[in-house]
Symmetry: none
């Protein structure tokens, strides 16, 4: 029961933090959504800030695990990078909260990130770094700072996922810039451009 309670809180918190940001949502609301008493949240997590940190760390860790698993199913740097992007996409398709959560954190320059959570973030970037290094070593890829392709992927996928409603508002226009694309189409095209761009 205790674990159920904790999970309910963590899920409710994740949704609201994603939707409204840390400052934009309140503990009452989280308690309502989790169907627990507000004080119960403070019993399990000591403060709103610690709850937020827990949500972030837990989800990033889970995300890293899934990315790794999928990436390591492949051998060539190209397939690995594709796997990274497509897993990124499929994860975001299932879990709509991750994208705004990460984006807000980046926008606030990691203010709420603990050392442990930053370490997880680092391991995610490292996945891309290793792939690029392999690509460079085998003469496939040009020499480029790892963070640039990483930011390209993270930036575009997170923005795409976060702006579901916003993108719809452009679809009345004569030009919707392709905004109606699915996340998988987007991931594929993104992969294609990046891989092509990195190729020697």
């Amino acid at each position: 029961m205790a674990n159920d309670t904790k999970d309910n809180i963590l899920n409710a918190a994740k949704q609201l933090f994603a939707k409204r940001g840390y400052d934009g949502c309140n503990v009452d609301h989280i308690a309502d959504k989790a169907k627990v008493n507000k004080a119960t949240i403070y019993y399990h997590f000591k403060s709103k800030a610690l709850l937020y940190e827990t949500v972030l760390e837990l989800n990033l860790r889970r995300f890293l695990k899934r990315l790794r698993k999928k990436v390591h199913e492949h051998d060539s740097p190209e397939r690995k990078l594709e796997a990274f992007v497509s897993t990124y996409a499929s994860n975001f398709a299932d879990d709509q909260q991750m994208a705004p959560l990460m984006l807000r954190e980046l926008a606030s320059d990691g203010t709420h990130l603990t050392d442990k959570t930053r370490a997880v973030l680092s391991e995610i970037i490292a996945e891309v770094d290793v792939i690029l290094e392999e690509g460079r070593a085998s003469g496939l890829f040009i020499d480029a700072k790892s963070f640039i392709p990483y930011f390209m992927i993270v930036g575009s996928m997170n923005i795409f996922t976060s702006t579901k409603k916003l993108r719809k508002k452009f679809q009345n226009n004569d030009n919707d810039f392709g905004f109606a694309a699915t996340i998988d189409e987007t991931a594929q095209e993104l992969s294609r451009i990046i891989l092509n761009g990195l190729k020697k």
Copy 2:
């Protein structure tokens, strides 16, 4: 004098909204930073929400104007795209607030965006769209949805600029993923990968 006051408020607001987000900063704090009385803010802008909208619209409009001017100094799609990216970079180099401001807005799915401001945003994307269309028309570029290169640029440049402090925290590690790069270097490498990636 009246305009001085208004500008002071707009500047203070921009800095604080950028740093802490709409919900994360309060009118008292803006008043303090602008060195005006809190009621003065309500005299010039009707509410916190309207102040925020004004900040956003004003700055996006200014940003669009600068991008346009620089892009239109060039002729070929390639040079134009490069100009778009490098102007993006130089603007962010001068104005550290724009990046987190935009990023937060995207993370919150444009909740605070007025129709007018969304229109400005649309015109910025349209700049890229036109360039890509030209490129496609002249057989230089592959056929790709415009928003993808756009999100790649916006995502990576905004994340890079927003995470100055965060990136520094990675620089003790043996691998800093190239995070120490300047914004201009970053823009150049980004241009190179995207142009290469779009090329037929």
Copy 3:
């Protein structure tokens, strides 16, 4: 109006802090008693703690001023000491809050005392110290540490004033220990014992 408001708050606070102690009374209650909105208290005093400190300092300062004035109307150490005690008494007769306020502060070892307020306290003791020094110098008084007569006066007068209701509960007994005495009678007898006790 602003000063009226502040005074209302200070008075209400004084009464409640005296009656229930710092932790025993709440800001809502003070606001009710002062007939102001709770937020108004926070506007004028930044926190409950600062309100408390202000109450303490203001009242101790006023108390010191009155003691000094009366003491300095006399010449001999004996008359001065009597004046000190009787003024102490007459002040406490008018202002029932001062005694429990001071007593609680002493009980909590001056935890809430600011440097400035401690200085006022010091000046009150100094009044007694000077009197005793004069008495010793003119060969009237025995050599005794100043704080002891001071604590005797402060202790007995403050306890007497603070325990109005408690003392009444003893008055059904066959022996009420003299608890029914007035504050002036008490002060006189106290003076007599101390003066007699200090005499060479």
Copy 4:
């Protein structure tokens, strides 16, 4: 084992009630200090209020017993009064909590005192009363209300013991009012002044 737990709770409670007062300390904190679960406190004592009353009654009773024993070792009123004061002092020297505990109770006009506990208090005063009565009967002491010497002793000894830290803060001054005295010196001087003052 059961008694161990109860004693741990009573000791922890005594220390915290003394340091912070009834309202200033919370059951969680007592539980932490006693190294028991919070619910255990409610198992042994029914409420915070009852725990407090138990602490008070137990300790006052113990205090009374010790005072009585020492006082009754002497015969003359003078020696008995001296014994009362010196036992007061030696008890407070061993048990730093008693003084603030009593002082707070007096400051709050006995609000938390049960009838039983008030009866114990009464018996303590009665000890002094009997001594003074004897002194008056044998023509040694002047006629004075018993509570006044009692309040002088209680007031000064309790204030002295409660203000260990506060007194230290005065010791940088050029005049420390004798605050550096030990409790035994203080008790001796107090005895001397009171006895001298009561003498016919």
